[in-house]
């Protein structure tokens, strides 16, 4: 059975802005899906509808058999613990240490008092330390996050999502603020996680070339509409035009250069 089912998902902000228009697709467990589209297409909104950071206007989203649109309170929180999220701007508490930020990923499992006081079990701490080490940050474990580079901060973000022990990761432009080297490390890391742990990954990307290299399935969005859903190999220039509109010319040129090189 599909892990994620999105059915006729529509999202309006306020009265006018139609951010998502009747989107339908399924994601099987273990998939690595790249969501591409120009800025303002609705990529971020789509991810935020899945973990209900924004409310859904109409349609249905089912994750692991549970219908998301009507979830509230404790049930919504429980659902969110099983979906990790990674952000373009890392969204860490910069003044806190790496391990403290990573342990935030456990807060969804806490009762009120434990959560308020930030009480973590020894096992949770060991688990967090192990994940931090596996991402190559053992030396930074007790450093404040404002002393880290962008690539390191993003790895902290990934670690925070992984301690949730999620079934799926939502990555909203995880490399948009990184230099090419750091971007490659992050994408390789996500790819590794997907391969070794089988965690399903949905990653929003502005750059087609990265999406084509890493994703095994591409979803193209333009102005809130799903305009492509399929293998990266079959994405034609015309379809890139359709997804990116007028921006596409440069992109296709870029891709040709890349393949020529």
């Amino acid at each position: 059975m599909a892990l994620l089912q999105v059915e006729a998902l529509t999202k309006r902000y306020g009265g006018e802005t139609l951010a998502l228009d009747n989107i339908t697709f399924d994601v099987e467990p273990g998939e690595f899906v790249g969501i591409i589209g120009p800025s303002g297409a609705g990529k971020s909104t789509l991810l935020r509808c899945v973990n209900r950071l924004v409310d859904i206007s109409s349609g249905d989203v089912r994750f692991d058999g549970v219908s998301v649109p009507t979830l509230r309170g404790a049930a919504l929180r429980r659902q969110r613990t099983r979906i990790g999220m990674i952000f373009q701007h890392y969204n860490l508490v910069n003044r806190l240490s790496v391990i403290e930020n990573v342990l935030h990923g456990r807060l969804g499992y806490k009762g009120t008092i434990q959560g308020i006081l930030g009480l973590y079990t020894e096992e949770e701490k060991r688990d967090a330390a192990r994940i931090i080490e596996s991402l190559g940050l053992s030396e930074q474990m007790y450093k404040r996050c404002d002393q880290l580079s962008g690539g390191q901060k993003q790895r902290v973000g990934i670690a925070r999502a992984l301690v949730q022990q999620p079934k799926m990761l939502l990555c909203d432009e995880p490399i948009a603020s990184l230099d090419p080297n750091a971007a490659k490390i992050i994408m390789d890391t996500l790819s590794d996680i997907n391969r070794t742990t089988g965690i399903t990954i949905l990653v929003n990307l502005h750059q087609v070339d990265v999406a084509l290299r890493y994703a095994r399935r591409i979803i193209g969005i333009n102005r809130g509409r799903l305009v492509y859903d399929g293998e990266p190999e079959r994405l034609s220039n015309e379809q890139i035009y359709q997804i990116y509109g007028s921006e596409a010319g440069d992109l296709i040129l870029d891709l040709r250069e890349r393949y020529a090189a």
Binding site: N51, L53, L76, R77, R78, Q79, R80, T81, I83, G84, M85, F87, H89, Y90, N91, L92, V93, N94, R95, L96, H104, G105, R106, L107, G108, Y109, K110, T112, G115, I116, L117, G118, G157, R160, A161, Q164, L170
Partner: protein, 261 residues
């Protein structure tokens, strides 16, 4: 296009200058203010002050009593600042866009802050004199209200500026509302909060002197008493003590700020 903008700017400044001069001249005429006499009086005031405002032996003997009053004033300033800040932080959390439980909470929180902050501390003291009479409580609440209004206002801004991204990340992990506040918003905003509380303590020590004159408490009362009984040398010692105290507190809070930021 460009020269027009510069010309417009010049004309605006000229107009502003003419208006300001007109207003000043009008005010001088209306109040029968003698500019020459007013300016020449300044040196004379200095001469008078240096001749009369010098603590003599008798004044120095009163020092313990003055210091006792100073302690009362400083304690009142600190306790009103800290308690009002705690309450102010709670209201700011309810009012800030990032942390409000519901959008309806923001307008009343901002309105309350605005009322409490925009009524001057001496006006609060006069209003409260009706309820509590000449007592320490009047002064305490006057300082309390102003601090409260100020902290609500600045912390709403700080929370929305610093907290938004990490709040989003913690919401996505499934963390509960209170855990998000204590584990992410407060740690992220703590340096600013401490800095503003220290600032309000400094401000309150200065205001407490004035409020003390109105409410007959603390060091303001000492000053009023000596001044009205024409005991200028003792009054001057009070002023000296206040100045030293304010400078000390300022130095201390700057040291704390450096340590926490």
């Amino acid at each position: 296009m460009q020269p027009d903008i510069f010309q417009l700017r010049q004309r605006q400044s000229a107009l502003f200058f003419v208006l300001l001069s007109g207003l000043t001249y009008g005010a001088i005429l209306l109040t029968n203010y003698d500019v020459v006499q007013g300016l020449t009086a300044i040196p004379r005031a200095f001469v008078w002050a240096t001749a009369n405002f010098i603590p003599d032996d008798e004044a120095w003997q009163r020092l313990p009593r003055i210091l006792d009053k100073l302690r009362e004033t400083v304690l009142m300033a600190i306790s009103s600042a800290t308690v009002a800040s705690a309450l102010g932080l709670a209201v700011a959390l309810l009012g800030a866009t990032t942390t409000r439980p519901h959008p309806w909470f923001s307008p009343p929180a901002r309105a309350i802050a605005s009322v409490f902050r925009n009524i001057d501390v001496s006006a609060w003291a006069l209003i409260l004199l009706f309820s509590f009479g000449q007592s320490a409580i009047t002064g305490y609440f006057a300082l309390f209200f102003v601090t409260f209004g100020f902290i609500v206002r600045v912390m709403i801004e700080t929370i929305d500026e610093i907290g938004t991204e990490s709040v989003e990340a913690l919401r996505a992990t499934g963390a509960g509302y209170l855990a998000i506040i204590t584990q992410s918003v407060i740690p992220a905003c703590l340096p600013q909060l401490i800095s503003w509380v220290l600032y309000m303590i400094e401000t309150n020590i200065r205001s407490a002197t004035l409020v003390g004159i109105l409410t007959g408490t603390g060091i303001g009362f000492s000053f009023d008493l000596y001044y009205k009984s024409l005991n200028y040398s003792s009054a001057s010692l009070v002023v000296l003590v206040i100045v030293v105290a304010v400078l000390l507190i300022e130095a201390l809070s700057n040291a704390i700020r450096r340590a926490v930021l």
